[in-house]
């Protein structure tokens, strides 16, 4: 009978991890729906970016208040998770505070966890106030209504509850240690929870044990639930920020990729020895589609970008188009891409691994032409993103589709392009007049 809790624990643990693994598989399958792109170059620079930007949080502190608060929550969760290791061992083997033999070092660890937990609680409360009381503009854009708003708050509530459970567990444990309860070895330092412990003073030992056990169980079950919540939430960034910063763009921000398929065509057109009357090769592969109208036309890194986005809205709050009331919001571009990708993924799931066209696409059904044409390609969104997401590349790929596949550019731009074609300048001036300025006084 003594083994029942251990067995239950093992079942919950493996179910939690197993379900998460299933979602990770789905995630990776969806990302791989994107087009291949070579990211094997500049390994050292990529690692460096990951360490600096994701691990080191360097871009978070561009905005000091949320930046520092975020670092507290981030450190809190990473460091306090060392405790999870102990919880798992204790849970599986029925031990209690297995690491307590570290003695002084163990006290130091538990003490630091407690202080961090308190700081996390403070940070989370401030975050909640910023979202719901101060109502910062970037949390109120149209794309943030409904689920994204709830999701943001839910994450804060979960984090708060987990920290409170952790401290309650410690407080009860500390009280039991004082009462010389069997099984509760005297170990650890409790700089925060010692102030909660007096609440339990009047209670009987069995009640305190029940509180300690409940908090312990709820804490670990909560962590496993939170792990599985990630896939359904914007919160995936806690994992994906690392690969995303690794695979982020390394070239100068102003350098847009030259489409290889176009280069081939252009070379052929410029080749004087090419036979203009040559019959098309019957076996030639179907020419590649230019640009992107749906998620499958994007590169897999762009899809990884979409899953990594945690909807902080720094991009949108720096976007000149958005700031002046245009419909474009770079954050919405990322959210739309992710939502459409999820829709495509579900389509594949229900149709036994095969995507069945659903008459929808990213362009038009999610992202409007108006949004795409509002972009000034200024790279403010790319610069603002703390985890190296590139919304601009998606906008540009979709413009390419609009112009090269659909000839759907705004008429002003068609005039501009006509001028370039005819006279080598975006305005209708004669190329032969290009040097006239040198003769004007």
């Amino acid at each position: 009978m003594d083994y029942i809790p251990n067995i239950i624990f093992a079942i919950i643990l493996f179910a939690g991890i197993g379900f998460f693994a299933r979602n990770v598989k789905k995630l990776s399958r969806n990302i791989k729906l994107g087009k291949e792109v070579d990211t094997s170059d500049n390994k050292s620079q990529r690692w460096n970016n990951m360490f600096r930007i994701a691990l080191g949080q360097t871009k978070m502190v561009v905005r000091p208040i949320p930046g520092i608060l975020h670092i507290i929550v981030y450190l809190g969760f990473i460091i306090i998770n060392i405790e999870v290791l102990e919880i798992i061992i204790d849970g599986l083997f029925g031990t209690h505070r297995i690491f307590s033999f570290f003695g002084g070092f163990y006290s130091f660890l538990i003490g630091s966890f407690e202080i961090l937990a308190l700081l996390v609680i403070i940070a989370v409360v401030i975050f909640w106030i910023r979202r719901n009381v101060i109502k910062l503009r970037r949390f109120l854009n149209p794309e943030m209504s409904g689920w994204p708003k709830k999701d943001g708050n839910l994450i804060l509530y979960i984090e708060l509850v987990l920290m409170v459970l952790f401290l309650t567990m410690n407080a009860a444990d500390y009280q039991l240690q004082q009462m010389d309860a069997a099984h509760y070895t005297k170990a650890g330092a409790f700089p925060v929870s010692q102030f909660i412990a007096p609440l339990f003073q009047e209670m009987s030992m069995s009640v305190i044990i029940m509180i300690e056990r409940s908090a312990w169980w709820l804490h670990i079950v909560g962590i496993l639930l939170f792990l599985n919540y990630l896939y359904y939430s914007k919160h995936l960034h806690i994992l994906l920020a690392f690969p995303n910063t690794y695979f982020g763009k390394l070239k100068p921000k102003g350098q847009f990729e030259n489409l290889e398929a176009v280069t081939k065509e252009v070379r052929l057109m410029m080749d004087p020895s090419a036979d203009p009357f040559a019959a098309p090769d019957e076996n030639a592969p179907i020419p590649e589609k230019f640009g992107a109208s749906d998620v499958m036309d994007l590169k897999w890194v762009q899809l990884l970008n979409a899953y990594t986005c945690t909807e902080c809205g720094r991009c949108t709050s720096e976007c000149p188009a958005n700031l002046t009331g245009k419909k474009l919001s770079p954050r919405k571009i990322m959210m739309d891409t992710r939502d459409r990708l999820e829709e495509v993924g579900k389509n594949i799931d229900t149709n036994k691994g095969e995507f069945v066209p659903d008459g929808k696409q990213l362009l038009g059904d999610y992202i409007s032409h108006e949004e795409l044409w509002a972009c000034t390609s200024c790279n403010a969104c790319v610069e603002a993103c703390p985890v190296s997401i590139d919304p601009l590349s998606i906008i540009m790929d979709m413009r390419q589709y609009l112009v090269m596949e659909q000839s759907a550019a705004p008429s002003d731009l068609n005039n501009m392009m006509g001028n370039i074609e005819n006279n080598g300048a975006p305005w209708p001036f004669n190329q032969m007049d290009r040097l006239n300025w040198s003769k004007e006084s």
């Binding site: 057109m269 090269m404 300025w437």
Partner: protein, 263 residues
């Protein structure tokens, strides 16, 4: 009377068996836009004064293709690029200077992949180098005590991380360099990039150039300095919109240097 500008073309030099130190890529705005032509001339005056051996392509120059590419027309961009690269390579061009950050970005970053490899510098970088080498000297006298704020062109700043060259030049003028609340990496776009220059803005509550001009005016400048012909147009329009054109001038860095040199 103004000295006549010496503007040799690559074709002339080539015929004489000469190779200039640097090709000045004038760009479409610099060639045709009335305001931008003044920048072009100011820059040439400095080049003449410093005895820089340079040449332009003149009628052999054509749009780099930047606005076409940002509008999504990769075909047109690459056609322009390949044609221009053929001309540049035929003249064995090694170094290019341009006063347009869009041309600068395209030539520097997007031409190499299509066979055009040149050392490309923005005119503010080039001017800074001339100054450092002592080939020009700047007396800041007439700018003393003037407040100048610099608007970072997106395609020079964020796109290519050039923030200091234009600022160093302004400091040399003995002027007080004042920064806008959004500057350098976080500089706000003037609203012209991404081919917006050639279309009406999408529906919104304000024009981007007005927003940016307001930020510039907050610094109470005498001069708003720019390093891009398109930013120059947008900010000039913004200043007019705010009815400040009598007290605030929008000028290119090259024009400021030329003025300081009494050219």
């Amino acid at each position: 009377m103004e000295n006549e500008l010496k503007v040799p073309t690559m074709a002339e030099l080539f015929a004489a068996g000469q190779q200039p130190e640097v090709l000045f890529w004038v760009g479409c705005a610099g060639s045709f836009d009335d305001r931008a032509k003044k920048i072009t001339k100011a820059f040439v005056k400095i080049l003449n004064k410093a005895n820089v051996s340079f040449a332009v392509l003149g009628t052999e120059e054509s749009c780099t293709g930047d606005p076409a590419k940002r509008a999504g027309n990769e075909f047109l961009f690459q056609m322009q690029a390949v044609t221009n690269i053929e001309v540049l390579n035929a003249y064995e061009v090694k170094k290019v200077v341009t006063a347009c950050p869009h041309c600068f970005n395209t030539l520097k970053n997007e031409y190499p992949g299509l066979g055009g490899n040149y050392e490309v510098v923005h005119h503010t970088q080039f001017l800074k180098q001339l100054l450092e080498e002592g080939r020009i000297s700047v007396e800041g006298g007439q700018f003393k005590g003037k407040k100048i704020t610099f608007h970072d062109p997106c395609y020079l700043g964020r796109a290519n991380n050039v923030y200091e060259a234009p600022r160093d030049l302004i400091r040399k003028l003995d002027a007080e360099l004042v920064e806008m609340k959004n500057c350098k990496k976080r500089g706000l776009c003037c609203g012209a990039g991404g081919a917006q220059m050639f279309k009406e803005p999408e529906k919104g509550k304000k024009d981007i150039n007005v927003e940016r001009t307001e930020q510039a005016l907050e610094t109470q400048p005498d001069i708003i300095a720019a390093g891009c012909p398109f930013c120059n147009t947008m900010l000039t329009d913004g200043v007019k919109n705010k009815e400040k054109e009598s007290s605030v001038a929008v000028m290119d860095i090259a024009e400021l240097i030329a003025m300081a040199e009494d050219l």
